[in-house]
């Protein structure tokens, strides 16, 4: 959902045997290339990056620097969150990726105390991972508001938020659950804000702009801060730890490659990073944003080591796990249940119309089929800007409703169409009116097929409802998203296991319902 994800495919893979216009010579050239690269560099160095703009740009910069040094390199863009990148680095699927010291301390090393830069480097060294010196900027968390709203309320610092508990906060899931995130922040500043929803980072900016939320967490180098004219509230208690950007790399990397990376240390200050981010978001071309760095930076400066100073979080006010699980699950069921009810109420009549064939039938089946092919994330993103929807449970329910339509419409239509001609003739010849034929004969006979469609929709909805957390609608997707971003398996499982159990229970419940609703004569 970050604006940057659709760029993944921009970098097409050019394979040597693409020279198909001259097939014969092409094969020789290809064979030679494969042979030669196989000898010189057994495998190219792989740079990874996380799923947000700055990480993409830093990944591109590393790629360019290494490749300028004459080393084969490729960049796997936007692989995911901390957990995915860290595991990939440890497992050797990637060799380099950009990370932040605060994240390393809190989420990778799982430390709540302060660590000096050297301590972090030592800890990582024990695992076989190296770290460059800071690249020169501190991309810490920031709390932002629209300038006009902040001035209107006279808010300048985070402490000022105490006076306005009515403000609507939209926070990323990662921030909501981080050890240095929302809960300790609220404790530190004694905030008693009630209106807090979880929302995807990029969508949150849109919601902030439209006024649906008033306060949001951000990264201090986000290009959107300047673009939307937002103010960063002053961290007057110095709560947020430092997030100095560094590159992590595997010790197995060649000294040549490592020294190339080290040339990047201390060469990017906050202003420059913000500018590169803005360029990347404006052009959607990360390689170009990265090349901007090389234009103004022909040679790397010497390292500019920044000491780590972090304010450690205070005691946390924890909601009990049981209570949270209940809240997630009941919300999840509410989302899946309401949307399923709508799908049934609309889907069965549509299926009846579709079963009559003709143009209307084709339009109905075509429409519901097309809806099904829209990726769920894209459907959510399309619905959010519409007036009635926005970032709410309504949007999630609407999207799930649309997803649930196809199986019900199609199964209703085919169930009715599959009724044998002699049965249809007999029902008509008896003199039953069309409505009574449908109610007393056709729908009961098609009941197995219709219920099958409803069951499919229910299981799909329970699964897809996890995505509702992206737009702040809650549900079991909340812990899954937080866990993905936080590199925390336990948190992911807190959402994933109940969701899987729920899907099983739904399946079981509908199997039971079959026995009640399908007439006995059809089950013999």
């Amino acid at each position: 959902m970050k604006t940057s994800t659709h760029e993944n495919c921009r970098e097409s893979r050019r394979l040597p045997w693409d020279a198909s216009s001259v097939p014969y010579r092409g094969i020789f050239v290809a064979a030679f290339l494969i042979y030669s690269t196989a000898i010189v560099h057994p495998q190219p160095i792989v740079v990874g990056s996380k799923k947000f703009t700055e990480s993409y740009v830093l990944g591109e910069i590393a790629k360019r620097a290494v490749s300028d040094a004459g080393i084969a390199v490729e960049h796997r863009q936007g692989m995911g969150g901390t957990i995915i990148l860290w595991e990939a680095l440890k497992g050797g699927q990637i060799d380099i990726y950009p990370e932040y010291t605060g994240t390393i301390t809190q989420e990778i090393l799982k430390r709540t105390d302060q660590l000096t830069f050297e301590q972090i480097a030592n800890e990582l060294g024990k695992i076989g991972i190296g770290m460059t010196n800071p690249l020169g900027f501190n991309n810490t968390y920031a709390i932002v508001m629209r300038r006009d709203r902040a001035q209107q309320l006279g808010i300048r610092t985070i402490s000022d938020l105490q006076k306005h508990p009515e403000l609507k906060l939209g926070l990323t899931h990662e921030f909501l659950d981080r050890h240095d995130g929302w809960r300790p922040l609220a404790t530190e500043y004694q905030l008693n804000t009630r209106n807090v929803v979880g929302i995807d980072h990029a969508l949150g900016y849109a919601a902030l702009k439209s006024g649906e939320i008033e306060v949001k967490d951000a990264y201090s180098t986000d290009a959107k801060i300047a673009e939307y004219d937002l103010v960063v509230l002053e961290d007057d208690h110095r709560f947020f730890p430092r997030y100095d950007a560094v590159f992590l790399f595997r010790f197995q990397l060649s000294t040549e490659a490592i020294s190339t990376l080290r040339k990047l240390e201390g060469t990017i200050d906050e202003q420059k990073m913000t500018r590169l981010n803005a360029e990347a978001e404006r052009t959607k071309n990360y390689a170009r944003a990265a090349s901007l760095y090389f234009e103004v930076n022909p040679t790397g400066d010497s390292a500019n080591l920044t000491a780590l100073s972090s304010q450690v979080s205070g005691p946390q006010l924890e909601e009990s796990f049981g209570h949270r699980l209940f809240r997630w699950t009941s919300r999840h069921l509410e989302l899946a249940g309401l949307s399923l009810l709508l799908s049934v109420l609309v889907g069965i009549p549509l299926g009846i119309f579709a079963s009559r064939g003709g143009a209307i039938g084709h339009v109905i089946l075509g429409f519901t089929g097309i809806v099904q092919t829209i990726p769920s994330l894209a459907l959510l993103a399309l619905l959010v800007p519409l007036p009635f929807f926005g970032i709410s449970a309504r949007t999630a329910i609407a999207a799930l409703f649309l997803y649930g339509l196809l199986p019900i419409v199609r199964n209703t239509a085919t169930g009715l169409q599959d009724i044998a001609q002699p049965i249809q003739d007999s029902a008509a010849a008896l003199g039953l009116e069309a409505g009574a034929r449908l109610r007393k004969i056709y729908l009961p006979i098609a009941s197995r097929s219709i219920l099958g469609g409803i069951k499919t929709s229910a299981v799909i909805n329970v699964g897809t409802a996890t995505l509702a957390a992206l737009i702040g609608a809650g549900g079991l997707g909340e812990p899954i998203l937080s866990g993905l971003n936080l590199n925390d398996h336990a948190t992911i499982l807190q959402g994933a296991i109940p969701a899987a159990i729920l899907a099983l229970l739904v399946q079981w419940f509908f199997d039971l319902l079959d026995r009640v609703l399908i007439p006995k004569g059809l089950r013999l």
Partner: protein, 247 residues
Amino acid sequence: MSALVQLIDVAKRYGDAPALHPTNLSIEHGKTTVLIGPSGCGKSTLLRLIVGLVRPDDGQIIFDGAPIAPDKIDIFRRKIGYVIQEGGLFPHLTAQANVLLMARHLGKPETETALRLSELCELTRFSKNLLGRYPVELSGGQRQRVSLMRALMLSPELLLLDEPLGALDPLVRASLQRDLKEIFGRLKQTALLVTHDLAEAAYLGDEIVLMNEGRVVQQGSIVDLREKPANEFVSEFINAQRALVLT
């Protein structure tokens, strides 16, 4: 004798293929008329035209002196009983629910329908113990008896049977033929039966209508057809079936 149903120049084509050439036919009150002929001769189409499952391209169908009004087709159909080869029983309903479906739909009093049901069971020799069974739990012959009860439930003026015994084995078939003849006689039922079996036609029919390629070839008693065949096809059809019986 007066005609209950009259077909006047009724024609039907499916696409380019004529299923029924312009045809005139009378079905007399209280008689059993049998439509016979090879597959695809138009006999089933003729039956479906009468009950309104297909609409004629041309001509008129008169029932009890008045043409059938398309907007009152459902009410008209309640005066007709319709039995087809595979029974057409509704699989989600028990035998009893199948038989009583229309009576209940029309809100007939329970006592009246219960009485009628036991009459029909006796008439069709269907054991009352089997009334609670679903169609899949019944044999082919039993299913046809239920189908017949359903068709007779509202005491229809006309009973249409489209190869009702076609899917049954010979023994069951012979016993049902005997029962049908007895039922038609007792009820003085006007019936129109489609079959391709000449012996069945001869046994059950007061009047036999031989059809071929969408036309009525000859109409009369079995004796008429045998003694005075209208053309080559009639004698061929009759001899073919007789030869089959003899060998």
